[in-house]
């Protein structure tokens, strides 16, 4: 069965196999090539990283001192909302999808993604979705200002007019994600080269498979959520309106049923990346492959049934709180398995510290710290104090910035020489890493203390005793921002440079897998005849 599908595909692809890419913008607009689409996703995510990052800096600048510094509360709320939405839906998810597009066919020995035209569409929805979303910033009246969690009734009865644009753009992002996930799952099931059995599948592919299923499970729920908002706003329903017999808590259930798995959607592909990188630069096979796969599946499964831990302070009955506390604590076990297996991979390896490895190690340390605060947050009574404070802000930035984002950096440095055929500047890479680590910890470590001392999140101004730590945070945020300019320089230099390829097929001494058997850079079409995996 599998082979039959590969066959028909090879035949279909054969038609355009001999011409290279089209010239000019048409190449990018009409492309169905997984490498092109991967590049588009990654570039899009890079642009959004700087837009979302700039918003973060506006937020941090306003918080440099008590009192009004730069912007009024109205704009502040729009910034926190946009920053969150852009970083989650515009940076991390597209970057992971870009890596999947580039690497999954190369890693499983497939000529392309299974559904190339769908692939084109799922990417090209994104720029329009985000233009629509960001256009609300230049409309009269406030842009969405209710936080990226857009709780009702603040976003329904009390939402600004621009909320409808927000709803529509979330629909577009959702459609894009569903199509991308579908494509990835179908590709992994049907397009593996002969001999690429489930037991040999690289961990990056495994974790994207699991992520794909998560996306398919929860993105439609998000779509349902914003549709109910739309109905409440314009068609006189009362899903979330208490005055009309609806329930504001229903919103939170629906939102977090999507929202909690979403955080695993953001991190699981990262787990896959770290597994590849750690094993390569330890020159040692990944320890406990089967357990790593099982842990990934387990995390995803538990992730689907713990959403109410975001709602501990909403007055939930004690039985619900207890169940969700215990279930949430269980997540720590498969996550622990991951960390311990990475450690065991490093143990007795032959370790070198190239930039991808540095980011992977940074991930290992700081993601673990984020995991610790996660365990603390699962304890319901303590969560009463942490919830919606800066402690939570610190927690999710440790898992998303030094987790997902660092994993993406690791992946890019790891595979960039494969994509371009040229080695990036190791020195600049190291500078990028160290500045990021310093900036990141300076920005987010003090937030733990601020939260414990009682600073709520999403406030544009704060009492005097929070000043010192907030100033540290702001300085750290700006250092982190500067560090990304180094990254931008490295990437742009790779993109415009025309020097001859200077790396081997294998690129890294310890690298193993199908992608490293191809030339660097790989030709436009690869694996037109499926390789045989021994």
């Amino acid at each position: 069965m599998t082979e039959a599908i590969i066959h028909t595909h090879a035949a279909a692809d054969h038609f355009d196999a001999h011409h290279g890419p089209e010239k000019g913008f048409k190449r990018w607009l009409f492309t169905t090539n997984h490498k092109d689409i991967g590049t588009l996703y990654l570039l899009f995510s890079l642009v959004m990283l700087f837009i979302g990052g700039l918003m973060a800096l506006v937020i941090r600048a306003e918080l440099f001192e008590p009192g009004k510094v730069l912007i009024d509360p109205e704009f502040f709320n729009q910034m926190t909302t946009m920053h969150g939405l852009i970083m989650v839906f515009g940076v991390i998810m597209p970057a992971m999808a870009g890596l999947a597009n580039w690497m999954i066919p190369l890693m499983i020995g497939a000529p392309d993604m299974a559904l190339p035209r769908l692939n084109n569409w799922s990417f090209w929805l994104l720029p329009f979705a985000f233009c629509l979303l960001m256009s609300t910033l230049i409309m009269s009246g406030p842009a969405p200002d209710f936080g990226w969690t857009f709780y009702a009734p603040l976003s329904t009865t009390y939402g600004p007019k621009s909320t409808d644009f927000f709803i529509f753009s979330v629909h577009m992002m959702g459609a894009s994600s569903i199509m991308a996930a579908l494509n990835i799952v179908v590709t992994i099931f049907n397009m593996r080269a002969p001999g690429m059995t489930w037991g040999k599948l690289p961990l990056f592919v495994w974790s994207w498979l699991v992520t794909g299923f998560l996306l398919l499970a929860v993105m439609p729920v998000l779509a349902g959520c914003v549709t109910m908002m739309l109905m409440d706003r314009h068609f006189h329903t009362s899903f979330f309106n208490a005055a009309g017999g609806g329930d504001p808590l229903l919103f939170q259930h629906v939102f977090w049923f999507f929202g909690h798995p979403e955080v695993y959607i953001l991190i699981l592909p990262g787990f896959g990346i770290i597994s590849e990188v750690v094993s390569t630069f330890s020159r040692k096979r990944l320890f406990g492959y089967k357990f790593m796969v099982a842990a990934t599946v387990l995390i995803a499964f538990i992730g689907l049934i713990v959403w109410m831990h975001h709602m501990f302070t909403t007055g939930a009955p004690i039985t619900a709180q207890l169940y969700f506390m215990y279930a949430t604590m269980l997540v720590a076990i498969p996550t622990g398995i991951k960390i311990f297996n990475w450690l065991a991979t490093l143990f007795k390896g032959s370790i070198t510290f190239e930039t991808p490895m540095l980011f992977a190690l940074g991930f290992l340390v700081m993601f673990t710290i984020g995991g610790f605060s996660g365990v603390m947050l699962s304890l319901v009574p303590a969560d009463y104090q942490y919830r919606d404070s800066y402690f939570v802000v610190a927690h999710f930035h440790y898992v998303l910035v030094s987790g997902s984002l660092f994993a993406i950096f690791a992946a890019i440095y790891y595979w960039l020489p494969k994509w371009t055929g040229r080695m990036y500047s190791e020195r600049l890479g190291q500078i990028h890493f160290w500045l990021s680590v310093i900036g990141m910890n300076l920005a987010f470590l003090p937030m733990h203390f601020l939260g414990l001392a009682g600073m709520p999140r999403r406030i544009p101004d704060y009492p005097l005793q929070f000043t010192d730590f907030n100033q540290l945070c702001t300085i750290g945020a700006f250092i982190f921002g500067m560090a990304q300019l180094v990254f931008l320089y490295i990437i742009l230099k790779e993109c415009v440079s025309h020097t001859k390829p200077d790396v081997s097929n294998q690129v890294w001494e310890g690298a193993k897998g199908l992608e490293w058997t191809l030339p660097s850079p790989p030709p436009y079409h690869t694996f037109e005849t499926a390789p045989i995996v021994p």
Partner: protein, 384 residues
Amino acid sequence: MHHRILRLILFFTSALFVLTAYAESELNMPVGGTILSEEIYKLHMAGFYVCCGIGVVVFGVLIYSLIRFRKSKGAQAAHFHEHLGVEIIWTTIPFLILVALAIPATIVLGHIHNTDKSALTLKITGYQWKWKYEYLDQGISFFSVLSTTQDQINNKAKKSEWYLLEVDHEAVVPINTKIKLLITADDVIHSWWVPALGVKQDAIPGYINENWIYVTKPGTYRGQCGELCGLNHGFMPIVVKAVPQAEFDQWVKNHHPGNSFTPLQPALNPLTGDALLALGKAQYEKNCVMCHQANGAGLPPSFPALKKSRIVTGAPDAAIAFVLSGVPGTAMQAFGEQLDDQNIAAIMTYIRSAWGNSDLVKQQKYSTVIQPKDVAKVRQGSKP
């Protein structure tokens, strides 16, 4: 190489010292002054120490591996890549640790939910952007609004010690008494959070959530709204004053039961235009400025301008009636329930005079000045 490691250690220890220099800024969760806040604090510390313990092991192994197994030191990679035994060990040990944490958490949670045998019930309602306190047994009810001035927020005046953590009317509670809190909201979701009282409870329209406090240490406890509730989410603090029972009883006696906080209305005596204007400006800054702005221009389209507003500058009775009853389902609240006649009259006088509105009012041959008795009349008329 050793020097580099030494330097790193030096760097981190000095970083630690810098951090302790910040010790005057609060670093940790407050132990607080209630039974629950202390229990929560202990649980928090238990969780923290457990994490530290695991951290030492994990980071210890990591650092050891990174130093010991460097290729530059000639390390050769071993070939092992699985071992069922260790996998079982690092699944079971964390599981046992988690069970050990879950037990105290479950016990404390049970305490939080036990609101029985309370001696006093305090109902708290969140509004955009103020809190309403109702002492159900004593019949006292009042609103509590931020008292930090706009000038302080806009850096035009020196910031007071409790900048953004001060209110006009504090909630007063007796110590050594179990007080049941009933928490709800009128418009959007808010969250009543006072760290040192160990309470954060969401205030949700349509729901009444319960929590309780038993304050053991007298003093003033401060907190802020804990759930994004719109424009002025950062400007609706909570101040609770815990006093001995006798003092609390005295406080109750001083306050007239009923809707309004002010002890016995200062009658409906007419005031001079200037007095009304001065009071009106102050009251406007407390009650209206967050939406309609100091210059009366509002933030359209969310919050309309009062400058040149037809309603404000039109017939006095209609204007008064509008402010008294608000617009249900919008952020414009029924201020008749929150302010007495004198304050409403003063605010009306102020908004009809300021920002050039007086010209429009006079063109229509109306008076800018509104007296408390005018408000009383409209209030009477609006009652069925």
